[in-house]
């Protein structure tokens, strides 16, 4: 069997933004760049769940739940989405091949661990990676993985393994794509931007509890100051390495997605030219991103064994407390924007 769809691979920082943007592009919706997909989908987040462990380290995330960015962006643009889970590989292949024959590239949720084209250091059991399948040549599926510079391939066996990876967020062979739709007007995008920002304000400022949103960042900063005594220098170092990994992992665009969000606010200004504030607030997110990067450098001093005193952990914790304040002010400023100018 041989089928290949004429599909343009577009590299992005983050997989889900990239898949969203590329699949929309494919149905003729060309305006949705990666930052717009991320912002309209209210992608920015922070959460630290102390009781949950991932890879024996702390469970920390800098973005919203996997799947939400695609769903929210398509919803806001009023584009219907087809999404299917499967009980068996055979059934899913029947569906997949049908779509490919019709010329429809398909998004797939996959596990990272068995992705053969990733270096081994990058592998872990994370099941919410996204890629696009756009054809098949003999036993190889043609893959557009948005985080990669060039398109790649997976054998049918390799693809089955990653699509039916097990564990938390198991993809269950999930396939999805947006359905064709008429022209998306600027007015729809303007509205989608406003609702995306409002929802992100809610998630970062008003989420209950201490673990998440801007409060969660300060909470984590305070915890970090206690890690040295509580865990010992070695384990505390591994915890910090995990934090940096989640923050700077391939796909974040740097600074725990804060830079992408800054880019989103600048692009939003193009659609809302009366809102000068957006540019200033974008600058605040750039500053937050820079501080996250500085914090990562401080953390690396600890996990490389160069520094290990309590005061080094205090400096690290204080970075997060400062970041929490900056992001709080930035989101407050966003919530104060009068959109009906």
């Amino acid at each position: 069997m041989c089928m290949k769809i004429n599909f343009e691979h577009k590299q992005a920082a983050h997989c889900e933004n990239g898949v969203t943007s590329a699949l929309l592009h494919n149905i003729g919706v060309n305006q949705i760049t990666e930052p717009l997909a991320f912002g309209i989908g209210s992608g920015l987040f922070f959460v630290y769940i102390p009781l949950l462990k991932i890879n024996k380290g702390p469970a920390i995330a800098f973005r919203t739940m996997p799947g939400l960015i695609f769903k929210r962006t398509c919803n806001s643009l009023k584009i219907p989405v087809v999404r299917k889970k499967f009980s068996s590989n055979e059934k899913s292949l029947e569906f997949l091949h049908q779509r490919l024959n019709e010329g429809q590239p398909v998004g797939a949720q996959v596990g990272v661990f068995n992705l053969s084209y990733f270096p081994k250091e990058y592998r872990f059991h994370f099941n919410a990676h996204n890629l696009i399948i756009y054809g098949k040549e003999e036993d190889n599926y043609l893959i557009s993985d948005p985080v990669m510079e060039y398109p790649t391939t997976l054998t049918s066996y390799e693809l089955e393994r990653v699509r039916f990876a097990k564990g938390p967020l198991a993809p269950k062979g999930q396939l999805y794509y947006p359905e064709k739709k008429g022209f998306i007007t600027n007015e729809i995008i303007q509205k989608a931007i406003v609702s995306g920002i409002k929802r992100n304000v809610r998630d970062m400022l008003h989420i209950p509890g201490n673990f998440a949103g801007v409060k969660g960042i300060a909470f984590t900063g305070k915890k970090i100051k206690k890690w040295r005594d509580k865990l010992g220098v070695k384990t505390a170092g591994l915890y910090l390495a995990q934090l940096v990994r989640m923050q700077e992992e391939i796909g974040t665009g740097g600074g725990g997605f804060r830079y992408i969000y800054g880019a989103f606010l600048q692009e939003s200004f193009q659609y809302h030219p009366k809102q000068d504030e957006l540019l200033n607030i974008s600058g605040q997110f750039t500053k937050a991103g820079d501080l996250w990067r500085n914090a990562a450098i401080q953390a690396s001093g600890i996990y490389k064994g160069r520094i290990s005193e309590q005061q080094d952990f205090d400096i690290m914790g204080d970075y997060l407390i400062e970041i929490s304040n900056i992001e709080k002010e930035a989101f407050k400023a966003l919530s104060n924007i009068k959109w009906n100018k």
Partner: protein
Amino acid sequence: MTKEEVPQDNSSLSNISREVSYATDKDGKYTTALSKGWDVKSSALDLVWKETIEKAAECRQKVLNNQASPLLFFMEIKMMDISLLSSYTGFWKWRIKRHLIPSVFNKLSQKKLQRYADAFNVTIADLKSMNVHED
């Protein structure tokens, strides 16, 4: 981060792909730039990987000392806990705990061994001899 500040440190990914970073130009306008990697990040990844290798070496020794079955070694090197291994193999968790005992493991049928071998993506022979082909 300005475009000039986007780090270009060699990392395990650089041979395979560069990655997209968001950075500002001289007017403060956002743009993208490709990065070869960042030492701060790759050292975090290396550290976690090194830790896994060390733990796996300890587990290998335990298996050689007949204190555990090879499953212990593979769980470590493949970063699987019992519940994840249970999802992959379909064995109940308590059964996997029993299969971690060398004398029980040694009596497992080929069919059961194959389920573990599939989960770890190795052959049965490699499963028994703790042979991994890491590329």
